[in-house]
């Protein structure tokens, strides 16, 4: 078993984020609040509840260097929280959206953050010193549907997005006065703000969970058709690979190294994907050990579960959030968030955390996994 810690924080968690030193975790318990827990001697205690949003908080990101929290919500607003003494002080960021905000991420330099929304737009927000104000600049009319996920390239300029129109796009987010044109060889060398660098049209269904590899050379995202997409050489001539897998679709991905990706989703069990020495990606294994050997009985049990649902046996009035039946694994419902925790000296992710609709935050360790070392 590679899960080293399991914490049941709430009934359901929409998203979570870790403080820079990983001693605190912030999450949204499926309502308009953000709870912050601190670990002290093996126990987690609640230290703050941040009330400011009016509706479900859909995204949280905690900046590693500046120790600021950014949150977005279905109420179409965003707040940047900074810690002053022992209190968290919010600053409202007016996103200028007419639909819910769905996801948020700080840029690598933490001078900007990106918000994906149901208004088919992406907001790039940056701080204006003279006005003491966060400004939101919109990338409009590029997406045909809701933006489900955003990911920053390590160069702090390029932004990848996935959308429910099934496409993955890469934009330049260069903002005069905030960014400098120093990265000569970069793709974004002379692209203007909001210019689309590439559009990847690989999936025919909703796309979720986009991420760049640590170097920024490879892009991975998932489709709601149980397929994960890997794109090398993002630029004029990208090299795309589709990996279709046997199980339920994924919601989010994480690059552990250049050649290893972990995907989490509706199967409640993290899946490991790896690239072999020729660069061909494939499914490697489930991380939660109950499913390492796929057996026919698994299908049997899932079908009977489905039939139970269809005929509503003793399931009347079941809350959609509640898991239908314990599956015997660590997570008992869809996992929708995965974050890196500890890294080794060479930049590989050693530990990561997942949270899901079952209200658990689970910490996983990849050490002592000899069979996956061949992919590193």
């Amino acid at each position: 078993m590679t899960a080293v810690a399991v914490h049941q924080f709430a009934q359901c968690i929409t998203c979570h984020a870790w403080s820079p030193d990983h001693s605190m975790v912030a999450f949204c318990p499926n309502n308009n609040e953000i709870h912050i827990y601190r670990s002290s001697e093996d126990k987690w205690e609640r230290v703050h509840i941040l009330y400011k949003h009016d509706q479900i908080v859909s995204g949280i990101d905690w900046s590693a260097k500046s120790n600021k929290l950014v949150t977005v919500s279905h109420d179409r607003n965003s707040y940047v929280w900074s810690q002053e003494a022992s209190e968290w002080v919010p600053t409202l960021v007016i996103l200028r959206l007419n639909r819910a905000a769905l996801c948020v991420q700080w840029s690598p330099k933490e001078n900007k953050f990106a918000v994906g929304s149901g208004a088919k737009t992406v907001c790039i927000c940056y701080y204006e010193q003279e006005n003491n104000w966060w400004v939101s600049k919109l990338i409009r009319k590029k997406h045909d549907s809701s933006v489900t996920s955003v990911a920053w390239h390590p160069d702090n300029i390029l932004l990848a997005t996935t959308s429910t129109d099934g496409k993955c796009r890469v934009f330049s987010t260069f903002i005069k006065g905030v960014d400098t044109r120093d990265s000569g060889a970069s793709l974004a060398s002379d692209a203007k703000f909001g210019e689309q660098i590439i559009q990847l049209d690989l999936s025919f269904s909703w796309a979720f969970g986009v991420k760049w590899s640590p170097s920024g050379n490879t892009l991975a995202y998932v489709g709601h058709n149980s397929t994960i997409y890997f794109v090398d050489d993002v630029g004029p001539s990208p090299l795309a690979q589709n990996v279709a897998f046997q199980d339920l679709p994924l919601r989010d991905v994480l690059f552990v190294s250049e050649k290893m990706v972990i995907g989490v989703g509706f199967d409640c069990n993290p899946m490991l994907f790896g690239a072999d020495e020729r660069g061909i990606w494939g499914f490697v294994k489930f991380l939660d050990e109950r499913k390492i050997a796929p057996s026919t009985s698994k299908y049997g049990s899932q079908f009977s579960e489905a039939f139970g649902k269809l005929y509503g046996q003793k399931q009347v009035g079941n809350d959609a959030v509640e898991s239908s039946k314990p599956r015997g694994g660590v997570h008992e419902n869809c996992i929708n968030c995965i974050l890196p925790l500890e890294k080794t000296g060479d930049g590989r992710v050693k530990r990561f955390s997942t949270s899901g609709l079952d209200g658990k935050v689970v910490i996983w360790d990849l050490e002592d996994q000899e069979d996956i070392l061949s992919y590193s």
């Binding site: 025919f204 058709n225 149980s226 279709a244 897998f245 046997q246 199980d247 339920l248 679709p249 899932q302």
Partner: protein, 135 residues
Amino acid sequence: MARQEGSVEVDNVEAIIVRIEHKSRKIESLLKQFKPVEALKTALEGAPPKTKDERCKSANWIVVHRAMMAIKDVDGMFTALDPEYYDILMKYLYRGLATGDRPTCDQCLRIHEKLTERAGLGCILRSLSDTVNTV
């Protein structure tokens, strides 16, 4: 302009029908040679992409149905059928189940069971979300 586009669509439909007739003859000859799996592979190949024309769809379905019903040994079929056919086969199985015809449904359910064992729930999801191959 509209009339022109309409005629292009008609030409396209005619071309698809000719292709399907050709496919049908090939399948019949394969079935006569007792190569049901080869016949099924031929049937699954070249589904009319993105056409909304019901005539094309049902002509193609008749051909696939013919090949599918000729499969006697389902396990044997899967040892010879490559995984790239799984998603499209699943799509045709659901089309077969939608007919409500007793022998067709029996055959489709028999194949469906084995196919799900091999290709998992992911295959079902892909067949549901596939908008390119119309069956």
